[in-house]
């Protein structure tokens, strides 16, 4: 082993020991990143399960139930339980304390129906109350069915073919695979993983650069006959190791996370096995290494840890905002997405979740960008090191 490689290893070993001794910070990051996956999944599956159970309950709340025995008869024949709406349901709906839309029937419903005067039936929901909004469509379809049945009966009595009522037939085909549909729900997982990697790298990156300056240990360090790039390479290696460790832990945390899914539908849709975890890692590891170097480059300019924390907010913001291009689906997927760090990783991980195949170009472009970013950052830190030691 050459002397230079030995020097890199010496620095790497020391920085790793130093970082791993910072137990409190490390545990906080580990806890948040390892628990993040399962927690998010549990929260999502809880939400879906509650929607599913509401759909299974088959309940309809009607205000003025006594006015509409015909409607009640229809609803009960559709195996729905019909319940009288609670008093003050409008206020309850607004406060999200009541989570079902309410069908409001006018007092002269039956009389108007008999005269063929089309009584107005209102469906009261609150679009800010998400769970009531989710059931509105179901109630609309149900009332539509009641209307159709009435029409069919009236027409059939007059000897008209029922088919005339439906001159066209509508069939809808959903092209999305189960996994694609699931990414509408699990789409934020890559984002959480990336944030975990970022926070994993943050403390170590700042400590080995700005922290070293603040302690006054950088100047004596440079008075050793070790080449500057070897010192920087060792430091970068250690920071990258820590953030890669977080990447591995958070990628694999989704595996057990899957077992606690409460919604069967989601469990069926969310395909995350060993293959997906490994693909996540292929995408994340270069990103973790590049991010470590970038954070070090930001921090070496700062005299204190605190100043460096304030400066690294730019990186934090970039990593948290760029994937939003994807989330909001601005202009769909574009080739340039792959050239933007964070956005590229988000795109690729979303594809992995969708179960789509990743092409070589898709893998290599972000890798190239990460290598370039890391190289420039490490070069910058090495260049700044002597200057930084003196001030």
């Amino acid at each position: 082993m050459s002397r230079r490689a030995a020097a890199v290893l010496v620095v790497l070993r020391k920085e790793l020991t130093d970082a791993l001794r910072d137990r409190r910070t490390l545990l906080t990051v580990l806890f948040s990143s390892v628990l993040m996956g399962p927690l998010v999944l549990v929260a999502i599956s809880g939400l879906i399960a509650s929607l599913e159970s509401r759909a299974e309950q088959r309940e309809v709340y009607v205000a003025g139930l006594a006015n509409a025995p015909t409607l009640r008869n229809f609803l009960e024949r559709q195996t729905y339980t019909v319940k009288e709406a609670p008093p003050g349901y409008e206020a309850e709906l607004r406060k999200s304390r009541f989570s079902d839309p309410v069908v409001v029937v006018p007092a002269d419903f039956e009389a108007m129906l008999a005269r063929g005067e089309a009584p107005v039936v209102e469906i009261v929901s609150d679009s800010a109350n998400q769970s009531s909004e989710a059931s509105t469509g179901r109630i609309e379809r149900l009332l539509g069915g009641f209307g159709r049945e009435r029409a069919v009966l009236n027409i059939a009595l007059r000897g008209v073919a029922v088919q005339l009522l439906e001159p066209i037939q509508i069939e809808s085909h959903d092209l999305a695979s189960t996994q694609t549909r699931a990414t509408r729900i699990t789409g934020m997982l890559p984002y959480f993983v990336m944030m975990a990697v970022l926070y994993g790298a943050l403390t170590a990156a700042l400590d080995t650069t700005a922290g070293e300056r603040e302690r006054g240990s950088l100047e004596p360090l440079l008075m050793n006959p070790t080449e500057r790039w070897a010192i920087v390479a060792g430091k970068w290696g250690a920071v990258a190791c820590v953030s890669m460790l977080i990447a591995v832990l958070s990628s694999f945390s989704f595996l057990p996370g899957q077992w606690v899914l409460r919604s069967d539908t989601l469990a069926a849709m969310f395909q995350y096995g060993l293959r997906e975890a490994l693909l996540f890692l292929v995408v994340l590891l270069p990103f973790a290494a590049a991010l470590s170097a970038l954070l070090m480059a930001m921090a070496i300019r700062c005299k204190t840890f605190k100043e460096a924390q304030a400066n690294s907010t730019i990186v934090l913001l970039a990593v948290s905002l760029l994937p939003l291009v994807n989330v909001f689906n601005l202009g769909g997927e574009a080739p340039w997405h792959l050239w933007v760090p964070a956005l590229a990783q988000n795109t690729l991980m979303t594809k992995v979740l969708k179960g789509e195949a990743l092409g070589w170009a898709e893998m290599l472009i972000p890798l190239f960008v990460c290598v370039l970013l890391a190289a420039v950052s490490v070069w910058f830190v090495a260049r700044m090191l002597r200057h930084a030691a003196l001030k």
Binding site: G216, P220, N224, P225, R386
Partner: protein, 277 residues
């Protein structure tokens, strides 16, 4: 053996930006040229092996800048900087391998033990870990800090930190030792222990080290140094042994002699400059 002649270094210091509306003045007026600060104008001395050379000067005289140039942290503007005959600017790493520097900032890694701090520097100097560890043990005995070795440096006192930093600088047994105000923050006993150690390092048994040691404390120089280099305003203004300097200034008190040498108007002391022996 350290030889320095005609050392000079100036820094460009950016003009401080005016506050308030004045900060927009640069939009209309010409840019203010950065001020040039001459930290070191002309420092020359020779420090032989087996000899303690004191670099004495008031605050801001350029002592720390001189030592930083010697440690290849700052590139000098004009110089001849030789350590054991090796040019510092041309071959900095070879020089650093022959030098142990206790610099102005002496930060330790708080989460590592004193031993780990010391062995880290030994490894960076290219030593085997076992050798560095054995050397740390020896030096710790010498500086009476064996009990500290396996404690994390987090709660160390000023003196304990100093000792650790000093042992760290000496771990590779360098022939040249440079100490920037080593007694700062040390109590009487620790200062005495340091003085004894330095005296021992000067002897053939201690390795006949070349020791250069900057300070602004007269007593240190009087008690310890074989020769003194007085630096003021970035220049070597006098050099020689303590009795020589006393004789030259016609003073019996070294403090008076120093004040005379360091703060005399430039014209008066020009004739005093001479090479150290």
């Amino acid at each position: 053996m350290i030889e320095i002649s005609g050392l000079a270094k100036s820094f460009a210091v950016a003009a401080s930006r005016p506050r308030g509306l004045g900060r927009f003045a640069h939009l209309t007026r010409k840019r203010v040229a950065p001020t040039v600060v001459h930290a070191v104008r002309d420092v020359s001395f020779t420090a032989p092996g087996g000899h303690i050379t004191g670099l004495l000067g008031p605050n801001g005289a350029g002592k720390t800048t001189t030592l930083r140039m010697l440690a290849a942290l700052i590139t000098p503007d004009a110089e001849r900087l030789l350590v054991d005959g090796i040019d510092v600017v041309a071959r900095p790493r070879e020089v650093l391998a022959k030098m142990g520097v206790l610099s102005d900032s002496r930060g330790l890694y708080a989460r590592l033990t004193a031993r780990e701090n010391i062995v880290y520097y030994g490894a960076l100097q290219g030593m085997e870990r076992e050798a560095a560890d054995a050397r740390a043990q020896d030096l710790a005995r010498m500086f009476d800090m064996t009990a500290l070795l396996d404690r994390r440096t987090d709660g160390f006192s000023q003196g304990e930190r100093m000792k650790t930093a000093l042992v760290r600088a000496l771990v590779h047994d360098p022939a040249n030792i440079i100490l920037d105000e080593p007694t700062n923050g040390l109590d009487v006993l620790a200062t005495r222990a340091l003085r004894d150690s330095l005296r021992w390092l000067r002897t053939p048994a201690g390795g006949s080290k070349c020791i250069v040691f900057s300070t602004h404390i007269m007593q240190e120089v009087e008690r310890l140094c074989d020769s003194v280099v007085v630096v003021a305003d970035g220049r070597t203004v006098a050099s020689g042994t303590v009795p020589e300097l006393l004789e030259r200034t016609g003073e019996s008190d070294f403090e008076e002699a120093f004040v005379k040498l360091a703060f005399a108007p430039a014209g008066d002391r020009a004739g005093d400059v001479r090479e150290a022996p």
